[in-house]
Every structure is written in structure tokens, then in C-alpha cells.
């Protein structure tokens, strides 16, 4: 907020949100204080409750909804249809956003969530091109929000089981992708070896940029070849696409990185606020200014420009 964010999304310190990392997030009391701070700063507080409730244990997620409403969250970011039904029927006046975890990537899909649960905004998956975002924004019966910087999930979000396969824990059910409890790093003659569970994910030669040990950005050997199967270690940076994204009619730009530091958040938010000011002034967009913060010290515009799925 101090860096100029119009809204901040955050979560409780449990498995109800998709950034359930040790030492991170808020108790209900802390989140209530944060919401007061946000209101004083004329900023919005969005509470992410965007994991999928365990069968028979949905009370934890419903309590999180109750608490978020009680502390005055400006919006709840939800993914599970059962929890959406609970929130929409219990709190008919509460603003609801559809999390990227719901993977709503078509006008029909978004229409369903709007009709069924009065969704006011959808966070679009990071697998769409700018042209597709424009087409959806033109027809969707709610606001659209897109990621512009940070970690790049290349899978159908909310449905990716790679972390679960390697560790038994997933972002969808436990709120953690490649949890730190299952990560190991060690150096072998200057080469950094990263492991996730029982899998070696990558080896980084001395002096080469490192990355998180996620299976989707791991380097694999098959037959006679070795390389990145899905995506290289890289972060999303869509600053150069801001003119096109504004043209496409999106309502909000999202910066990923709730698990990163205050220094990261402040730097990235300031950078994008300055970029938006340049856009208003019809000046060229900056380039490469955030590369030191990116995974693998490398950035991409992802699917926004590329044609893969």
C-alpha cells in the first residue's frame, strides 16, 4: 500500500489459501488490523480463500469466509463451488472474486460463476493470449483481472497435481506448491543441486542463476536428450504488454508474490505504478528493470504472447 497498490490480496495463516508458507500470512486479529490500515490508506483488502476444502472438513474454509466478512474484507477470492455457494448464500451483499485456481478460461465458464454466485471479478488463468483476454473481457459479465508479474504457473491452475505427485502436498488442497519441507539444496563442487521430495529437479553450474525446485520448471533427461520439459526457470513480466492489456479491457493488474519479501513487493509495485504513469503519458514502457527479482534471472511474457498451452 505504501508503494501505491490500490488493493492488496492476502490470506489466513492456514491451508485455506494458496500461499500457506511457514511464517507467512495473517491471524484473524492481524488481518483485521491490516484491513484498518488499508481503509486509512484508501486501499482495498481482498482475502484469498482459494484452496479446495477437504471432504468432511469444510468448516475450516467456511469459518475463514465468516472471519473475512467480519473484518470487513472488500472482496473474497474463492475457487471452490461449494465455498462459493456458502459465501454467496450466507453473505449476499459480500463482493466475491473468482480465483485463478478456479481455472475459468472461457466466457461460458465465467458466465456460470456470475449467474450462480454473483461473481464480480474473475482472475484469468496464465494460459491465455492477450487476444483471448480481450475477447473474454469484451463478453464477460464481470470484471477481469490478469497477472502481470511474478511466479508463472504454466499448468491449468487449480488442477495441477505435479507438486502432489512429488510431495503429497499441493497448492489446491494444502496451499503449497513444492513445499519447503520437501525441498533440499546442496552444492557439489560449485554446482547447486535442487531436489523436491525424491526427485532431483535441476543442477545449476557455478555462476548460473538458480530457481525454485518445481517439477513444471525442472530439467529432465529422456533417452539421449536433456532439457526443460514444460517451461524453463523464468518469471512472468508483462510490463511491455500494458498498452495491449489496457486496450483489452481488463480491470485490474495482479502482481504475484505473497510469499516473497517486503523488498520485492515494494519494488515491483512501484515499478508498475511508474509504468502505468508512463502509459498515461503515452511514453514507451520500461524493459528489464525487474530481472534481478525473477526466477532464474529470466523473464517471459508467457502465454500472453506465446502460443502454447
Amino acid at each position: 500500500m505504501d508503494a501505491g497498490a490500490d488493493a492488496v490480496y492476502c490470506g489466513f495463516n492456514d491451508e485455506t489459501n494458496a500461499r500457506n508458507f511457514p511464517g507467512l500470512n495473517f491471524t484473524p486479529e492481524q488481518l483485521a488490523q491490516a484491513a484498518v490500515y488499508a481503509r486509512a490508506a484508501n486501499a482495498k483488502t481482498f482475502v484469498a480463500i482459494n484452496t479446495f476444502p477437504r471432504a468432511g472438513d469444510q468448516q475450516l474454509w467456511q469459518r475463514a469466509v465468516d472471519t473475512a466478512v467480519r473484518i470487513g474484507a472488500d472482496a473474497l477470492i474463492l475457487a471452490d463451488v461449494g465455498l462459493l455457494h456458502y459465501a454467496a448464500s450466507t453473505y449476499p451483499n459480500q463482493r466475491l472474486h473468482l480465483s485463478v485456481q478456479a481455472a475459468a478460461a472461457s466466457v461460458d465458464s465465467i458466465r456460470y460463476f456470475v449467474d450462480a454466485f454473483r461473481i464480480r471479478r474473475v482472475v484469468l488463468p496464465r494460459v491465455l493470449s492477450v487476444a483471448e483476454i480481450a475477447a473474454i473481457s469484451a463478453e464477460a459479465a464481470c470484471e477481469t483481472e490478469v497477472f502481470v508479474f511474478g511466479g508463472l504457473c504454466v499448468m491449468e491452475e487449480g488442477r495441477c497435481s505435479l507438486s502432489s505427485y512429488a510431495t503429497g502436498r499441493s497448492p489446491n488442497m494444502h496451499g503449497v506448491c513444492s513445499p519447503a519441507s520437501h525441498v533440499a539444496y546442496h552444492e557439489e563442487d560449485g554446482t547447486l543441486v535442487s531436489r523436491l521430495g525424491n526427485f532431483t529437479i535441476n543442477r545449476f553450474a557455478a555462476g548460473k542463476a538458480a530457481a525454485y525446485p518445481t517439477l513444471c520448471k525442472g530439467r529432465f533427461r529422456a533417452a539421449q536428450t536433456e532439457g526443460y520439459l514444460f517451461e524453463e526457470p523464468v518469471s512472468l513480466d508483462a510490463v511491455e504488454l500494458l498498452p495491449a492489456l489496457r486496450q483489452s479491457g481488463v480491470s485490474a493488474l495482479k502482481i504475484e508474490g505473497r510469499q516473497r519479501s517486503r523488498a520485492y513487493v515494494e519494488t515491483v509495485v512501484r515499478y508498475f505504478k511508474e509504468a502505468l504513469a508512463l502509459l498515461d503519458a503515452a511514453e514507451p514502457m520500461p524493459a528489464g528493470g525487474l530481472v534481478t527479482l525473477t526466477e532464474g534471472q529470466s523473464a517471459t511474457t508467457g502465454a500472453y504472447r506465446r502460443g502454447w498451452r
Partner: protein, 175 residues
Amino acid sequence: MPSVPALVSIALRPLPLAPLQLLLTALLDGVVQQHPGIFERLGEHVGKRIGIDPTDLPFAFVLEPRPGASRIVAVGAILRGTVDARIAGPLAGLIGLANGTLDGDALFFSRDLTIEGDVEAIVALRNAMDDAGVDIVRDASASLGAFGPLLERVGRIAAIVAEKLVLDVRGRQWN
């Protein structure tokens, strides 16, 4: 990432660790007093032994955060198997990480920072300190009573001089 010049590091090598230990204890007391919420965020990682290894200095530290009984000890080196986790990097990077002015993940990506052992404990400690808003000079000064403000001024000046020295030496090396 600026590093302590090798000559300075060599000059520090024969010095006894006792005076450094006094400074470290004051620093830890200050941080713990000013930011008791750190322990709540550490959760199950309270009491873990974290090795903090400035790779450009001839000594290291072992931190044991525990409510009412936190310890930090200066050691000549961190021996394998004596700590739960080890974080290593240039002193400037470790201070920036502690103060929340640098991003730990970015330092890891650029290979300025090395992490070994219990990664979850390191992540919890990083998040707990980042939330607390630690300022090591201010917090250490706060634990020294009447001498605190004087030490804080000296500390700030020392930090500026040290940074300039580091940059000057590196500048000459690059030229």
C-alpha cells in the same frame, strides 16, 4: 553484491571472538525485545539451530531463537551436522535480508545466497523477520539503554563508511 574486501577479512582473522559476542548478544536482545511476534511466526521452528555464515568474514554465527532463551554464538566456522540449517552469503546480503531491504529469493536466484539443511526453518525465519521490520542497528541500540542513541549514531556512520569502503575497493578491483 558488495563483499567485505579480502584484506579486511584477513585482518579480522586473528581477532578474538569475545568482543563480537558482546555485540551479537546486544543485537539479539534488541531484536527479541522489539519484535516478540517473531516467535509466533516461527511456530514449530522455534529452537532450531540456524547457522549464519558471512562468506566474506573469517567467522560465522549460530542462532537459536527461543522465547526467553534465545542465543547467538560467534564461531570460527559452521561444522557440518552441528546446525539444522545454514544460510551463507556476503555480509551485505545477510544484513539486507535481516533488515528487509533485500529479497532473499532474488539473492538465491543470483547465487549470492546459499541455503542448506532445513529449508522450511529458513523460510519461516525469513518471513518472521520480514514481517517484524527488523533494523539491526536500531534494535541493537535499543537494548543498550542510555548508550543506545550514541551507539545507533556510531553504527549508522560505520555502516555508511563500511559500504563506501567496500564499493571503493571493488571499484578499484574492477578498474
